[in-house]
């Protein structure tokens, strides 16, 4: 199936070395819309909602920022560390400028970890995009469910 111009352009922006050195698609061999559809199905199956997940990740980012760069325990369950750098990064869909922040999140009970950015929150909320499998900041639905809920 041919992609609409919006997705065509976003997918081009997601290649290695365009917006980020590592790109957003990882090792996926299917197109952007198929990636999004597959992950939407997975979210449905797991009973996850994109806006809720985005909200939780944003909440943890904001709480984590209080650690001023050092890890901080949030709600007695998560260990959150936020790394901030100066500069900005555009969304591949060309509708948002993200801060350059990286968050590492550890569930202290299970020691499960995940890693996301300010841009990931926007990509989840606005575009239902979790990045391609094999990408550095790919968010697996199953892991999101385990750590956030």
């Amino acid at each position: 199936m041919k992609l609409s111009p919006k997705y065509e352009k976003a997918m081009a922006n997601m290649q290695v070395g365009i917006i980020s050195a590592q790109g957003f698609l990882g090792d996926e061999e299917i197109n952007l819309v198929d990636i999004i559809n597959r992950d939407e199905n997975e979210f449905n199956k797991l009973g996850l909602k994109f806006d809720e997940v985005a909200k939780k990740l944003k909440y943890l980012l904001e709480k984590g920022q209080k650690g001023l760069g050092e890890p901080i325990t949030v709600d007695e369950r998560w260990l959150v560390q936020v790394y901030e750098a100066k500069g900005k990064m555009p969304c591949p869909f060309e509708d948002y400028m993200a801060q350059k922040s990286v968050v590492t999140l550890t569930d202290k009970n299970t020691n499960h970890k995940l890693m996301y950015t300010d841009l990931s929150i926007h990509l989840i909320e606005k575009h239902h995009f979790l990045e391609g499998k094999g990408s550095t900041f790919r968010l697996e639905p199953k892991i999101l469910k385990k750590i956030l809920y």
């Binding site: 081009a12 922006n13 290695v16 070395g17 365009i18 917006i19 050195a21 590592q22 790109g23 920022q65 209080k66 650690g67 001023l68 760069g69 050092e70 890890p71 901080i72 325990t73 936020v82 790394y83 901030e84 750098a85 100066k86 500069g87 900005k88 990064m89 555009p90 060309e94 509708d95 948002y96 400028m97 350059k100 990286v102 590492t104 890693m115 950015t117 550095t136 900041f137």
Partner: protein, 368 residues
């Protein structure tokens, strides 16, 4: 939001188009020889046009700061242009303040050289060189911070304590282009043949991942510098220094430099924040320095000591700082010195100004 989105769309489009245009441009257009006049003709460079200002200058060994290697995503390569180079590009606008635009400050990596140009750069940039260094030693000072010592061989470097270097990261794995990142120097200015950096692993970060997983003793690397204006003022006011993690670096350099040069008549308070004991480092060295130097006070603080035996301060570093400024260090003329993330700097600025330290007397690294 519109005002951000519009330039943004153009900015990304221009980014992609730029690549195509620049290739076609090189084939089709020949701008011929152009002159770059620096600081009112103090230095003139004649060179073929067609490339951007940042790259062109570096080919002549004049280095503007850059923390992204010219991708247009760090905003570090600011440079005053005093001749006409056309309107601001959408790729520049997000990084410049209104005041900077009034001053004709531009992003060096975005300015394409098509005709003669006049620029103004700080004289200190003439001291910046590219060094071919060898990694002499790598030490894990914590579970996520490496102390890396580079040997500059016969080359000498002159810098003031507080300045930073740019480390060139070669292509590796899926990363196809060389990139650069800025790190504060932690070694003493008196050691002119070495540079030491403290590099904390940022998960997913290109540069720090390379340092933490690929870099080995004996490797050859390129370093560009020194850059920056962060330094101790030549006054007698009390220095209130705050850092966490690899923010230790410029203070290590400053403290040992001051001690070595008998600049020991001013009071120095150094607040260092970490979460647990395993995130602390240089405790013994700094305690030893404190023994020998009565005006120096080191205050490490743990935000979540987690049942460890810990006799020092506890709490977030900003809370500890606030407590001290209200009780122990509540008189005299004070200056703030900070090294950390934008959020950390913001939070410390708030605590310091609320305790009577003027914003213009608070200094920090602007690249971090």
């Amino acid at each position: 939001m519109e005002f951000i989105i519009a330039p943004l769309i153009i900015s990304i489009l221009t980014g992609i188009l730029a690549a195509i245009i620049s290739i076609t441009d090189k084939i089709v257009n020949n701008y011929g020889e152009i002159t770059i006049s620096i600081n009112n003709g103090k230095k003139e460079i004649k060179i073929d046009g067609g490339e951007n200002l940042l790259t062109t200058l570096s080919s002549k060994e004049i280095y503007l700061p850059s923390a992204c290697g010219g991708r247009g995503s760090c905003g570090a390569c600011k440079c005053k242009v005093t001749s006409d180079v056309g309107e601001y590009l959408p790729t520049e606008i997000p990084y410049l303040t209104k005041e900077e635009m009034k001053e004709n400050i531009r992003l060096g990596c975005q300015i394409k050289l098509k005709k003669d140009i006049s620029i103004e750069i700080p004289d200190s940039l003439f001291n910046v060189k590219k060094y071919e260094a060898v990694v002499e030693k790598i030490v894990d000072v914590t579970h996520d911070i490496k102390e890396v010592l580079f040997n500059l061989g016969n080359e000498e470097i002159n810098f003031t304590a507080g300045m930073y270097m740019q480390l060139c990261i070669p292509p590796y794995d899926k990363i196809k282009n060389e990139t650069q990142r800025a790190y504060s120097i932690s070694s003493k200015p008196s050691d002119k043949h070495h540079i030491e950096l403290l590099i904390r692993l940022v998960p997913g970060g290109i540069a720090t991942t390379w340092v933490h997983t690929y870099l080995k003793e004996g490797d050859k690397v390129k370093l560009i510098g020194p850059f920056g204006e962060f330094e101790a003022t030549p006054t007698n006011s009390t220095m209130i220094c705050v850092a966490g993690g690899s923010g230790m670096a410029p203070f290590k350099s400053m403290l040992y430099h001051m001690y070595e040069n008998n600049i020991n008549d001013r009071e120095i308070w150094y607040f260092f924040g970490a979460r647990t004991k395993k995130d602390l480092f240089y405790l013994e060295e700094l305690a030893e320095l404190q023994e020998k130097w009565p005006n120096f006070h080191f205050v490490p603080a743990l935000s979540e000591p987690e049942g460890e035996e810990w006799k020092g301060e506890s709490g977030l570093i900003t809370d500890v700082l606030d407590r001290y400024l209200k009780t122990i260090i509540n008189s005299g003329y004070k200056e703030g010195y900070l090294c950390g993330s934008p959020g950390m700097i913001n939070a410390c600025n708030n605590v310091m100004t609320a305790n009577g330290i003027k914003l213009e007397n608070i200094y920090y690294d602007k690249f971090a």
